[in-house]
């Protein structure tokens, strides 16, 4: 979507000889900073302040920020055969800016999308109107391994399934925002949004001085309020907990963060017990009831009685307690049926079907290889397209045609031909860039954005979101598992 006024692509003029951004060149991509300076005094001011900084000071502050992350233990753990190594998610000190106008579109678009996702989930697990009306093929949904028959004919409190959602958004060379992926299961990364801000305000108080930036500190309170709102109806003063797979999980830091922000216990499966379809936690004075569980464990491992029998992370009997309405799970079981890469292609139609509205945020054009036309087009244009397995996550298995070797293209062709239904393809989006501190100096690097939405009685979107940045020159893969880092995201007032 082209937005007049924000699609200014003029290359930045060298403000002063030798200025930090003097040699910065976005190389034709939309730059979140440079392309938004025209007519925006706040962006211009940030640009000028950055430009006036010397590189040594920037590097020194970046090093201190990294050291602080490590000392704070804001790390994810990488396990090899012999060792457990704590790694810091690389943090880039130059913030990503969103203007008030951009943010307004994103916020409304995310709210709309999350509302549609919740209506869709309620519909597919109950009446199935959308199948009968021929908008989404029934077998596409029901053959998805993320579709849980166990959820049929059951509506969780207030009809909310995806209490916490993260919508991945990219921006193209014309400055238009597009949704790349929906995350309706257990999207992670919100802790970095808030920690990055704290870090940034300590390391660069001078950069933000006098500029109104939307606060991100309200997330914990909003989430706690949401969990209270969706508690089983007959409970007064419900007890909520965060359920983690444990200290060995790579996102354990985030689980701690969530429990602290909400002031609730961070429990593991072994801390919970189900008796007579009610959930309790083991405390120093015996069993005490639990009413709402923000679970950071996948459906498969949640309850060995209902799902994978060998799971030791979950709580036996939890799903039965859930179906009885004695405990609320956030997110609901089976939300993966809505954030699948194949369903993604139908999202514009799903929004229109339930809300009678046009999507505020567009999709990237998507070719569905399970459909004849989509398959033919994909195979004919593999070298131009980004090909993705529909079941994957973390960027694994994604082949970026224009950057792929002949060998990689032959391999993906073989895979797509063998199992077309497992693939979609999209045109390569020229992702927007942000000035980023690299070994070579300040250079453009590609970013995406994951805003987080919390839904109880209504949907609230945390201002900004997680800006992930591909730290390798020219790379479009922002995932932390593949060389990505993150930036603070500033929503201007």
């Amino acid at each position: 979507m082209l937005q007049p006024g924000t699609s200014d692509q003029t290359s930045p003029r060298a403000t002063a000889a030798g200025g930090l951004l003097g040699a910065y060149d976005p190389d034709g991509f939309f730059c979140e900073l440079a392309s938004q300076r025209a007519g925006n005094p706040q962006v211009t001011q940030i640009w000028q302040r950055l430009d006036a900084m010397d590189r040594a000071s920037l590097r020194r502050r970046a090093r201190l920020a990294d050291q602080e992350l490590f000392n704070l233990g804001i790390t994810f753990t990488v396990y090899s055969d012999r060792d457990a190594i704590d790694r810091v998610l690389p943090f880039d000190v130059i913030p990503r800016i969103l203007t008030a106008r951009d943010w307004d579109q994103i916020r409304r678009g995310v709210e709309q999308r999350v509302t549609a996702i919740n209506l869709f989930l309620r519909d597919i697990y109950n009446t199935g109107h959308i199948f009968r009306d021929g908008v989404v093929p029934e077998e596409l949904v029901k053959r998805n391994p993320q579709y849980r028959r166990e959820m049929e004919d059951f509506v969780p409190p207030k009809g909310v399934y995806a209490h916490i959602a993260g919508i991945d958004i990219v921006r193209n060379e014309a400055g238009g925002f597009m949704v790349l992926e929906d995350n309706a299961r257990t999207p992670s990364g919100v802790s970095y949004v808030i920690e990055n801000r704290h870090l940034m305000m300590r390391a660069f108080p001078d950069l933000a001085e006098g500029i109104a930036i939307a606060d991100v500190d309200d997330y914990g309170r909003q989430l706690a309020k949401t969990l209270q709102a969706v508690a089983p109806a007959n409970v007064t003063g419900p007890t909520a907990v965060v359920l983690t797979p444990g200290t060995f999980n790579s996102a354990y830091f985030e689980h701690i963060f969530l429990a602290r922000e909400m002031g609730v216990p961070l429990v593991e499966g072994r801390d919970l017990v189900v008796e007579n379809d009610r959930v309790f936690m083991r405390t120093t004075s015996g069993l005490e009831p639990v009413h709402v569980i923000y679970r950071r464990i996948d459906d498969d491992f949640l309850d060995p009685h209902a799902f994978r029998k060998e799971s030791t992370l979950g709580v036996p009997g939890l799903f039965a307690a859930y179906r009885k309405g004695n405990v609320t799970l956030a997110n609901a079981v089976g939300t993966g049926a809505a954030d699948d890469k194949a369903i993604y292609a139908y999202m514009p139609r799903i929004i229109k079907y339930y809300l009678q509205q046009d999507p505020i945020l567009n999709n990237v054009d998507t070719h569905i290889c399970r459909e004849k036309g989509g398959l033919a087009y994909t195979l004919d244009n593999l070298d131009k397209l980004v090909t993705k397995p529909v079941g994957g996550s973390g960027g694994y298995g994604v082949v970026v045609g224009p950057h792929a070797s002949q060998k990689a293209l032959r391999e993906v062709r073989r895979q797509v031909e063998a199992d077309p239904a497992n693939f979609i393809s999209q045109p390569m989006i020229k992702l927007s860039v942000v000035p980023t501190l690299t070994r070579q100096g300040v250079e453009p690097r590609h970013v995406d954005l994951r805003p987080f939405a919390v839904t109880g009685d209504s949907t609230w979107v945390l201002p900004g979101g997680l800006s992930r940045v591909a730290l390798k020159r020219g790379s479009l893969v922002v995932n932390s598992s593949q060389g990505g880092g993150s930036k603070d995201t500033w929503v201007l007032a």
């Binding site: 490590f70 000392n71 233990g73 216990p265 015996g286």
Partner: protein
């Protein structure tokens, strides 16, 4: 407000024990170094292995009993459960388990402390800087203690933390006394003796108090009496026993529904044994047996607390 999860109570209890243990180990290594003097090989360094009951385990994996190998075993070997590095790792792991209940300040301190010793290698430890390293560890543990005092919630977390700390402290005092007595009481060169008894008391930061309580007298006997019974001494077993009783009482008031018969029984056994004392004629052997009994009593209390407040199911 719901009670503390059993697992977190256990984490805080063990966080306290491991932090206290790391500090005590640093004191123990420091004092052993003082006894061994500048000797780098032979019997004096092997003694610490014997006293700690680690000799066989050590010899399984180590050929040499020289000073630096033994020091590395006690300071840096994270696989050795009686090392400082192991204690710091466990302190951090327990802190990580209860991370959301402790302050960011405490967590950051423990995380940095652990990272620092996880990076230290045998090459960084020499006989000439052992005292310095031990001093650093002590200070870092005491800083941790200070952060706990100034930030930990005054409720169940505080009671379980202090209970763990006092049980561990009493236990460690009995061990230091045991080592001191075995090393020194048999000797009869008085000039050497007084210096070394003084060093022992100094290593526990009780020198001035000891001097004021025992201006003159038989070192061995008075040191034992001071370390066991002096109520004003922060590390005396009797002082720790009072604090153990206090925290158990607070927990009982706070969690009235929990049956505590087993705790009460082990605690009275401990109090009775402590009150009876080691007997009139104090020999190293008799003292050792007495201290072993106190250690068993303390382990009994710890086990009973575990069963009452942190049951597995």
């Amino acid at each position: 407000m719901p009670s503390l999860l059993s697992r977190f109570a256990s984490d805080l209890f063990w966080l306290a024990r491991y932090l206290e243990r790391a500090e005590a180990l640093a004191r123990l290594i420091d004092i052993s170094k003082t006894y061994a003097g500048t000797e780098t090989a032979g019997t004096k360094w092997e003694r610490i292995l014997r006293i700690c009951g680690d000799r066989e385990r050590y010899l399984e994996t180590h050929g040499d009993t020289d000073a630096s190998s033994i020091l590395a075993f006690y300071l840096l070997d994270a696989k050795n459960p009686t090392s400082v590095a192991y204690a710091l790792r466990m302190a951090r792991e327990n802190a990580r388990g209860a991370r959301h209940l402790i302050s960011t300040e405490l967590w950051t301190h423990l995380n940095m402390l652990h990272n620092r010793y996880a990076r230290t290698t045998g090459r960084d430890i020499r006989l000439s800087n052992v005292s310095e390293v031990c001093q650093e560890i002590k200070t870092a543990c005491q800083t941790g203690e200070g952060i706990v005092e100034s930030t930990l919630a005054r409720g169940e977390p505080w009671f379980f933390y202090n209970l763990g700390k006092q049980i561990e402290r009493a236990d460690q005092t009995t061990r230091v006394l045991d080592i001191g007595y075995l090393s020194l009481a048999g000797d009869d060169d008085n000039a050497v003796l007084s210096v070394q008894w003084n060093a022992l008391i100094r290593s526990l930061a009780g020198y001035h108090l000891y001097r004021s309580k025992y201006p003159a007298g038989d070192y061995a006997r008075d040191v034992a009496s001071f370390m066991l019974f002096e109520p004003e001494f922060t590390r005396s077993v009797a002082g720790c026993a009072d604090n153990i009783a206090l925290n158990l009482r607070r927990l009982k008031q706070r969690l009235p529904g929990v049956p505590t018969e087993a705790i009460d029984a082990t605690q009275s056994a401990f109090t009775a044994h402590l009150a009876a004392g080691p007997g009139e004629t104090l020999t190293a052997l008799r003292l050792s047996a007495y201290l072993d009994q106190l250690q068993r009593d303390l382990a009994g209390i710890s086990k009973a607390v575990d069963a009452a407040y942190f049951p597995e199911d």
